[in-house]
Symmetry: C2
Subunit: 627 residues, 2 copies
């Protein structure tokens, strides 16, 4: 199993769980990458919508950024209260379900899940897109690079939470550090130049204004800028991943993330206006990202420029990781309540919720393949879900405080109420501004996912009612089962299965597919090898039943024979003994047992309650020497 | 299962096999698409290499086509003899293995398998490439369209051989019909114009010659033209798919396919020279395929032009189907000899070798994704494999005739010998001409696949030696197993498992994961529901063993308890009874039994020969009403 160990890490014992928990330093890359990377594309997205306004439009980036920063601050305080009240993890689902009811909880969950899938696809393809615009010769490998990064992030996450933090720490802090340096230098030059700095590399001239400013344009620019806030939820949902005191560590992490994001957004907006950096049209030749222009203007295009741009690309591509940190936890919580398959709630070999990671990876991969690695058009979709979840969560907190009452509860309720109000308004703004561009898709997907979750829950309930019992065992019709042993040829496997069968019951039927010479040989062996020794200990010897099979099918005749035996013995259990070869080396697994699996599968499809399958393992030696 | 039925068709009974066989009319699309579609890209590939020679180069297409036609004719006669001698299916593998030995047989098989995988990827992407060059706005969806066609072809093939023929008949015959009409009109105009026809749409002027003709250029053009012959093998490998008289039907099919291909190749070559159609550079703007230019020149660009081009696109994209018809059969034959996992030899629900279809589809899909749907660079790779297989097959036939001797055998031997010689020379020519462009990859892949096949065979042999036995049953240590029943809560499942356990043995241990309140409740129920009724019939009541699990893990504590019981009872079998819920509706399958599967898997990994897993199925009702 050494390949598995190499890829996924050695399995962790359950007692290692404490050691897998993280502090704030690792928490920032794990839960903050999504939020922080938004500093790279939020301003860009807003400025792109301001292009038609020409140079005059650039100035509007400052009020838009201020609005977004105010929104961020409110949401931050709101979530700090949530973390304090829910030290066991207070995602939108938990908070909304506990305070508003099951339906609002599921609504928040569905919105968030869809959001995370989109974030993974969009984050990765944004990173690769930035790289491709820097090196156009890589364009033809776009999809391959996207899928490669997806596989990489998936593997890293399957290795466990703590290692993820270590891997992503370097690019995250490099990104923050270089951008802070750019902002510091820029501010210094602005002060020296009395507000009119000399750019090192002059930014391209802003295009002529072809439209006057309107509330609609500013609204759309604001909505685009908002797409950046999706990562905020992750910390409060992942409180349990932090070291003790978990709640305090989580709050510290959230504060640092938001504070850094505010500094970056404010600094970039101020410098963009100061240097007069207008966005260039991403679809046109000569396109250059806003941050690339800005870093060039502030610091020139030397080694520092390439380090900065490199860390931006990396952080964009890895921002998908936040979704990988939170999506599986979210699915686990929902699965524990029975609204998703229970396998989402079990941990894999590295104490992560592997099933959620696989599902997220596969769905994001499908999106990437469907869109060929170019997912720009998905961007409008993913703010709706996040802000819908925020609103429900804050609104839930309002009800939470109302239940608690008391003096301080009123103040807290006010803060969460304000949070609910502004995020609620933002949902409507984003939905209206982006409806035609794709936000409507979210409005279709969320109810669809809700319907699935309700159906899962109903089925689980249905099953538990079907198998419920409050009566004691009834031990009538007491008789050992009729044992069926499929035999191919005389071998140690056949001997073991027959011996086991004789241990279970006196009635044994060995079924064998007629295969000419081999069958004759088996018939000859039967009396000496089976009948004689069984008669010697005074038992009834197993019967050899040879089944004809003109087309050399193996599975179907055996299944038919078993069903026939079941019909003829209406009061008995039928136990089918299937020998299975167990390889000690995983790469030989594909060689065996498909027949056993097919036999079992077909028996389950065609069979009845009275047919039981007994798997008899036979362990093969890894280094077997015939001599 | 109605979705499965809709996608794959209703399962076919094995007795329907006769009805699934085909005649020559369906055989041509199934086994001939690959060969026939080569008329669309063979001349194009050769002409592209003649571009540097200018208009003078166009004339060389006639001798090159004649060489290819002669090669085709020889190979055709060769294969007609093979089909006659091997009415049970005479692919290269069978013929080479029976007459030359196992190693040459496996070499032919590996070469052919790699060839087929490449043919699927290249065929589909050539079709999509042609479509994209006609409608450039579709360019960004290249990969998606490739994968869509791959899925379509896979599904059609999973539905069975006969339906495949029906689906592909229309485009195949449309392709043949329209091209024959083009050739007829063209020849007529050539005669009327005394060898100098008036084009309806003038072809683009041939470029100026920038190189003189050389043997090397002609050799490379010939090699490129040869890439088209890969489909010839398919018919002789698939004789068994034909209706009786199978051998005659197969030979007729092969003759018709080759004859049509010769007419198409000759006609196109003659017209290309007559109309002076030079190839255009596929990488440059203004590119137009040779057939598109030719059809325009002969018939103008009206409705007929679009029907013709449409059928060419379709046939190119569907040419991958030949590989789907033959690859699974080839794998089956090899698997029957133990060189591939045996599952390749079992048939799926529609009597096709599903495993081979899946493997081919997945590998071709991986190639398409790796190359983003643009697989031009793979074209040089795939003639080597085909011609290597041809050579080994013909050479095997030479030895076949030598064994038979007799007057007519000498003539047959001569024909096959000639076939072996020309295809052998072609292998060397193609390998030399295309070595640097990628043919070397085949030389790496073929030995790798060979190594895998030998390893598979060795492991099967190893296993059969390990389990071999020539001694009778030894019936000592005779004792029923110790039965372990995991119990979650009191339910019909628990009752059924306990009842079954009491039928098998007197020693039963019920293991239960401590879960607080539920455990207390279960303990209370135990004496009334289990101990009392069991004591009443005079048996020893099952023991309830409660396992602590601080982290709420479920699987590991049970496995540990079973291993502990196994250690404490060194002379006994341990039978672990695992209840499984069987859903009658497939889309609920994902909801259950992952825990059962995980428990079984872990028991197999950690367990020993003495631990047996007993699956106890519980059938859920599809429409269960609690009232």
């Amino acid at each position: 199993m050494s390949l598995m160990d190499g890829l996924f890490g050695k399995p962790l014992a359950s007692s290692s769980e404490e050691g897998e928990r993280i502090g704030a330093a690792a928490g920032i890359p794990i839960f903050g990458l999504d939020a922080l990377s938004s500093a790279a594309y939020g301003p860009e997205a807003a400025l792109t919508l301001l292009i038609p306004l020409g140079l005059a439009g650039v100035a509007y980036i400052v009020p838009i950024s201020i609005s977004i920063i105010i929104l961020l601050t409110i949401v931050c305080f709101s979530y700090l209260q949530t973390i304090e009240s829910y030290p066991g993890g207070g995602g939108s689902y938990t908070v909304a379900r506990e305070n508003l009811g099951v339906s609002p909880g599921l609504l928040a969950a569905a919105a968030l899940m869809i959001d995370y899938i989109l974030v993974v696809a969009v984050g990765i393809s944004a990173g690769v897109g930035a790289l491709v615009s820097a090196a156009p010769s890589l364009q033809q490998h776009t999809l391959l690079m996207c899928l490669g990064i997806l596989v990489l992030i998936t593997l890293v996450n399957l290795r466990g939470v703590r290692e993820t933090g270590v891997v992503f720490m370097v690019p995250t802090y490099l990104f923050i550090g270089t951008l802070l340096i750019v902002i510091t230098i820029g501010l210094f030059k602005m002060i020296v130049g009395h507000g009119v700095p000399m750019p090192v590399v002059a930014p391209p001239k802003a295009p002529h204004a072809i439209a006057a400013v309107s509330a609609w344009v500013l609204l759309k620019a604001f909505s685009s800028g908002c797409t950046a806030m999706t990562g905020v939820e992750a910390v409060s949902n992942g409180v349990k991943a932090f070291r003790q005191p978990a709640s305090r560590n989580a709050r510290q992490t959230l504060i640092v993330i938001i504070a850094l994001l505010i500094v970056l957004l404010a600094g970039i907006a101020y410098l963009v206006r100061g240097y007069g950096v207008a966005a260039t049209d991403p679809g046109q030749p000569g396109y250059e990202s806003v941050l690339s222009i800005l870093v060039g203007a502030v610091a020139g295009k030397g080694i520092f420029y390439y380090v900065t741009i490199g860390s931006i690309l990396l952080v964009l591509a890895l921002s998908a990781n936040t979704a990988f940190a939170d999506f599986p936890r979210l699915c686990r919580t929902i699965a524990q309540d029975g609204y998703l398959p229970r396998s989402f709630a079990s941990r894999g070999r590295r104490l992560v919720y592997s099933q959620g990671i696989y599902v997220l990876s596969v769905l994001a991969g499908v999106l990437l393949i469907l869109f060929g690695g170019v997912t720009d058009r998905l961007i409008p979709l993913f703010a709706v879900g996040a802000f819908l979840a925020f609103t429900l969560s804050q609104w839930g907190m309002v009800f939470h405080w109302r239940r608690i009452r008391g003096a301080s509860a009123w103040r807290s309720m006010l803060i969460n109420g304000l949070g609910a109000l502004v995020t609620g308004v933002t949902v409507i703004v984003v939905l209206v501004a982006k409806f035609a561009e794709g936000a409507w898709v979210t409005l279709v997907l969320i109810p669809a996912l809700l319907a699935v979750m309700v159906a899962v829950r109903r089925q689980y309930h249905n099953v538990s009612m079907q198998v419920a019992s409050q009566t004691p065992l009834k031990l009538t019709h007491f008789r050992p089962p009729l044992v069926v042993v499929p035999i191919d040829r005389w071998s140690l496997l056949a001997k073991r299965a027959l011996t086991l069968g004789l241990n279970l019951s006196e009635d044994i039927v060995a079924v064998h597919i007629d295969s000419g010479e081999r069958t004759m040989y088996l018939r000859e062996q039967w009396s000496d090898f089976v009948e004689k020794p069984v008669l010697e200990i005074g038992m009834c010897p197993p019967r050899l039943m040879v089944l004809p099979s003109p087309y050399r099918f193996v599975i179907n005749p055996i299944v038919d024979a078993v069903l026939e035996l079941e019909r003829k013995n209406p009061d008995r259990q039928i136990a089918v003994l299937i020998p299975e070869l167990i390889e000690r080396r995983w790469y030989y697994h594909a060689l065996h047992n498909q027949r056993a699996a097919a036999l079992k599968g077909l028996l389950y499809v065609k069979g009845t309650q009275r047919i039981i399958v007994v798997n008899v393992p036979w362990y093969l030696k890894a280094n077997w020497d015939p001599n």
